[in-house]
Symmetry: C2
């Protein structure tokens, strides 16, 4: 695989380019989207995924709609586009923050909206860089870190959120080891986080999601860091299904549990996690698995009993009481300190 | 599939017959083993699996060795066989209990050993029937039950342990619903428990192992019941990896957490779970998945990133403090009441 730069999504003119994450880790391809509709589909089908990358994709999709919109139907076209983009992934806060900003910028001029889309993306990337620098202060030499899902550069345009401190620690030659939760049903841990860490030569091993508590009980995990999809004003955090379970067991064993996220992931318009809509995805994600066969071809197989169905909530909400702190670009904050982020 | 009887393992003369559980749920086949070595391999490769079925297989394997043993080398042959059988699955208490009993019975006569092997198997089956009757008293109408791995009739010769109360409740026309943890890495929940429940027309859905806490937080789970592989005198319980995590989150949400197991699974020779040896299995069980392709052929695919490895503990130990009670054939017991089982 020839990876020129560790960037998940970018734009050239009105064309959006993104790493085709459904094909990773088996092949590295760049998906080109020419229209807002194509970009919306790319978000929905998870060609691009992860809080920040969804935010950037939504910003660029909104930008594409604004560029495409006919003069005689401008407002209706971009209003419809905004709704369509926002319907793709209901849980992701960054998505709504991004469409809103680019949409509002278009009230001044089309060029202003284009600039705003690029700025949204740059801000996510810059924030993550800072999250890495700040989060690294939490990682001692010989730290053993557990992470869930993928909150690396694939998920956040560049650098990552949960993985940013890990990359920073590795850059500073700290000896670290990462336990990578497989993260069923879509296995973003085994497929994407493991792939990223392998590329970066960070020591790691994949574990079944079931194994985390067992390693904690044996004192083999020092800290847990995950990303987030939406964080309420009180710190309740929506993230990949399973995050709640890891947070509860971490608390039981008094292991610090951190959420790493740029401030764009915080939604101060909602007081608690009860107001977060949880996306229910297709049961087939649980019942079938995709992977490489012996010939190197990508195959989909049924891994569950034929007569049975599945329930597939994509996210859960972790109440703030299980969260030690939030690693943001503006500082490492306790749940009760989050209001700092509303101050400019 | 033509399933004549819901029995996982039995013997005719010196031939052991078992449901080929590696092929389920995709095909139902009976595996015939003619020698103790074949039966030992069947245990090791998980053709038969689950605490009680391993116990029965071990009893029959010991019996086969005793029948096969040449007169001029009887004692050495059966001593070696015992070691070989016991090395197949180090965590399973029933295995050691079974080989010990049949081995000791051979001191009287070969026929006595044969009778003992059949008795071991019958006792597991009878115990499980009782576990069903007793456990059913814990299940209210409209109960929503979470189970982990497979502790059904496949795992325990007949009836099951964790599933026995569910079958009994269903027989009594209670309206129940079972959340079936997929149970990665070998997916015994999605493959075997779902298959059993579907056969029996019990309402259920498979969930990713990550989703259990989320359903608990939403008050959608009333009780958790799992099986066990070995239980120490104080109630610490070795069971499928992930059991510990489910027990901790159940306690957090004050949901009763029960272990269902026949008394053969209790090991009063060890005081606590610290003395239980945990089997570490091949990383490939995490990195690869087996299932049915579109043509109905069984295929194995790699589901994880190529450059990465995995850690694969097969079991974990749940400290007794997380366990509400034990559903045994002799009663439903709290951890501090387990010594009752040592009285005849």
């Amino acid at each position: 695989m020839n990876i020129e730069k560790n960037i998940a999504i970018w734009a050239k003119g009105s064309t959006v380019l993104m790493v085709e994450q459904n094909k990773l880790p088996f092949s590295y391809e760049i998906y080109e989207s020419k229209t807002y509709k194509q970009t919306a589909i790319a978000i929905k089908t998870m060609i691009t995924r992860g809080a920040g990358s969804i935010g950037a994709a939504a910003a660029f999709a909104m930008m594409q709609a604004i560029i495409e919109a006919p003069d005689n139907n401008f407002q209706e076209y971009i209003n419809n586009a905004k709704k369509e983009i926002e319907a793709t992934r209901p849980t992701a806060r960054d998505l709504f923050a991004a469409t809103e900003r680019v949409y509002n910028a278009s009230k001044i001029s089309i060029q202003n909206a284009i600039d705003e889309a690029f700025l949204v993306t740059k801000e996510i990337s810059d924030s993550c860089k800072n999250i890495g620098i700040l989060g690294n202060t939490l990682l001692k030499n010989d730290a053993r870190i557990l992470t869930h899902c993928n909150a690396g550069w694939l998920a956040l345009v560049e650098h990552g959120s949960a993985l940013a401190p890990i990359y920073e620690a590795h850059k500073h030659k700290k000896n670290i080891f990462v336990y990578v939760n497989e993260t069923r049903p879509r296995s973003q841990g085994a497929r994407l986080t493991a792939w990223e860490l392998n590329q970066a030569n960070v020591k790691h091993a994949i574990i079944a999601d079931n194994a985390a508590a067992w390693y904690m009980l044996q004192n083999k995990i020092d800290i847990v860091i995950t990303g987030a999809d939406r964080i309420a004003a009180n710190g309740d955090t929506a993230n990949k299904i399973g995050t709640l379970e890891k947070a509860i067991v971490a608390k039981e064993f008094e292991i610090p549990f951190y959420i790493a996220a740029p401030s764009s992931t915080f939604d101060f318009s909602i007081k608690t996690g009860n107001q977060i809509i949880i996306e229910e995805r297709n049961p087939e994600e649980v019942l079938y698995q995709k992977g490489l066969d012996q010939n190197g071809d990508i195959k989909t197989i049924r891994v569950a009993s034929e007569g049975s169905t599945a329930l597939n909530p994509a996210f859960d909400v972790t109440p703030y009481k299980y969260i030690t702190g939030f690693i943001t670009e503006k500082g490492i904050l306790k749940p009760e300190e989050l209001m700092v982020l509303t101050q400019t």
